[in-house]
């Protein structure tokens, strides 16, 4: 087999390993299933009445935003898993094996795609149950779901780097929140950007999550897309390239503990 063939088969072996653990750790399983449901219900029924979204029902406004947020956080298992592998010496074992150097990372991030699919499905179903409706055709909806998964994959690489850079699994979790939470809340995900103070609007408009949320709204609700869809795709690939490179660099010099 060629080097690329081995890289792919190593990735599959390690992605399977990452996925096997999820049903075996009930707390993780809750994170992937109950948490997204809770988020949708809380936002719709707690904040929904208080937030004005001119031109939209709040359910319609919210679902694309909350989907992007859960994609942004979907990779936390990668950070957690890599930090644990470092702590327990598994990274040492992997690095002593004649396997692809990147497979420990691509295995994790590939497994995230599978869990992200589950999350998107659950949230869309709950969304439809509380009143969310697609206002575009099937091709746009499919493109929107594909875009969400691409965004989720990109953020997995951010988490891969955080997991390798953090000193412990707990720390990797904390870094994840510190990096991702401000990006998702100071964006167009939950409230119209126009309602924020002007300095925050500036930040919200240039950062990637707003572009990603607006792109998803365009594909699900038919709002004017402008350059948002392409912008979101470019952001995703830029994040994958930068954090993919950083993660592999970090992995090569990773030492147990």
């Amino acid at each position: 087999m060629s080097g690329l063939g081995y890289a792919l088969s190593d990735t599959v072996v390690l992605a399977k390993r990452s996925l096997l653990r999820i049903p075996r750790q009930p707390d993780l399983l809750l994170g992937f299933t109950v948490q997204p449901v809770m988020f949708v219900l809380l936002f719709v029924y707690v904040f929904g009445g208080a937030i004005q979204t001119p031109g939209f029902d709040y359910e319609d406004f919210l679902i694309p935003g909350i989907l992007v947020q859960s994609m942004a956080f979907g990779g936390f298992v990668t950070a957690l898993g890599l930090a644990e592998d470092l702590k327990k010496g598994l990274i040492d074992r992997f690095r002593s094996l004649p396997m692809s150097r990147a497979a420990v990372l691509t295995g994790r991030t590939t497994a995230d795609i599978a869990t992200n699919v589950i999350q998107v499905a659950i949230m869309l179903l709950v969304g439809l149950a509380v009143g969310f409706r697609f206002q575009t055709g099937v091709p746009d909806v499919i493109a929107g779901i594909a875009l969400l998964l691409l965004l989720g994959y990109a953020f997995s690489w951010v988490f891969a780097f955080l997991g390798l850079a953090a000193s412990s699994p707990e720390a990797s979790n904390a870094y994840g929140f510190i990096v991702i939470l401000p990006l998702t809340f100071a964006s167009s995900a939950f409230v119209p950007v126009e309602t924020m103070p002007s300095w925050l609007q500036t930040f919200a408009e240039v950062q990637p999550v707003t572009t990603m949320v607006d792109a998803t709204r365009a594909l699900f609700l038919g709002t004017p897309a402008g350059n948002d869809v392409w912008g979101a795709v470019v952001w995703a690939f830029a994040i994958i390239l930068v954090f993919g490179w950083l993660s592999v660099w970090r992995y090569r010099r990773a030492v147990g503990r």
Binding site: Y6, R17, R21, S96, P98, V255, G256
Partner: protein
Amino acid sequence: MDGPVVETHALEKRYGDTHALRGVDLRVEPGTIFGLLGPNGAGKTTAVRILTTLLRPDAGSARVAGLDVVEDANRLRERIGLAGQYAAVDENLTGFENLEMVGRLYHLGRRHSRERSRGLLGQFDLADAGDRLVRTYSGGMRRRLDLAAALVARPPVLFLDEPTTGLDIRSRRALWDAIEALVAEGTTVLLTTQYLDEADHLAGRIAVIDHGLLIAEGTPDELKLQVGGDRLEVRLCSRDDNAAARDALAAVGDGRVEGEDGAVRVAIRERTGTIAEAVRRLDERGIAIDDIAVRTPTLDDVFLTLTGHHAEEEAEEAVER
């Protein structure tokens, strides 16, 4: 294979201000067990990490199985197995799944990986536990699984970094037996340990390492001779019997007797029967004994003799990387 399986020249490694290895020369002959003995922070783990391609040396060179650890790292990884001090196995997989994963990552193929995994589980007394999640395993079972994982690809060279640290005596014995069985089949083993008895029991040659430098090397017997070997230690009921006891015991060992204040130490060559003979001789002269034991020198004795300081003090100061 001709020539040494592991050979290092003037190996050096620094982490910031810590000089973890300060020019280490090692030579391990094929089909033998080589013990790298030292306290925490001595540089043992650093040496193993360099030899298993996890770290690059700052200076010096190292070859394993005829391959340079830096230049030929990729090819070398196919020929080595590593079992570390942490039992590097995935807790959320079963024992079988762990081994199968490692087999796949050695590119053994699905069928071969599965057959090999079942075989190893049987060999390491884990057949019944093979389909249970590793997080239900005891410490000894995890170490055995970790060792099995290092053996999946039948590597000719095996590195064991403190394989029994933290294990109870029974589990240690079981692991020792497994390691000896491997060497009987031709595997070459380099193991690090903090325990003199472990190095003594397993290794054909021992190198003592301290502060990143080799301070002694030889067979276990040579090393123990340097330290003074086994000792008979007798505590007398009355310190007035001291001189009489030394006379009585002079013929028990190899003639070296020391002691005052009612405690007599005799260097001995042979453990068997020593206590009985000593008791008989003391009894003949009417000397009452409070306590009597044969003591094997510990790592601490080795260090005290070779370096003038205790091994344990080092352990507290140093941080192994």
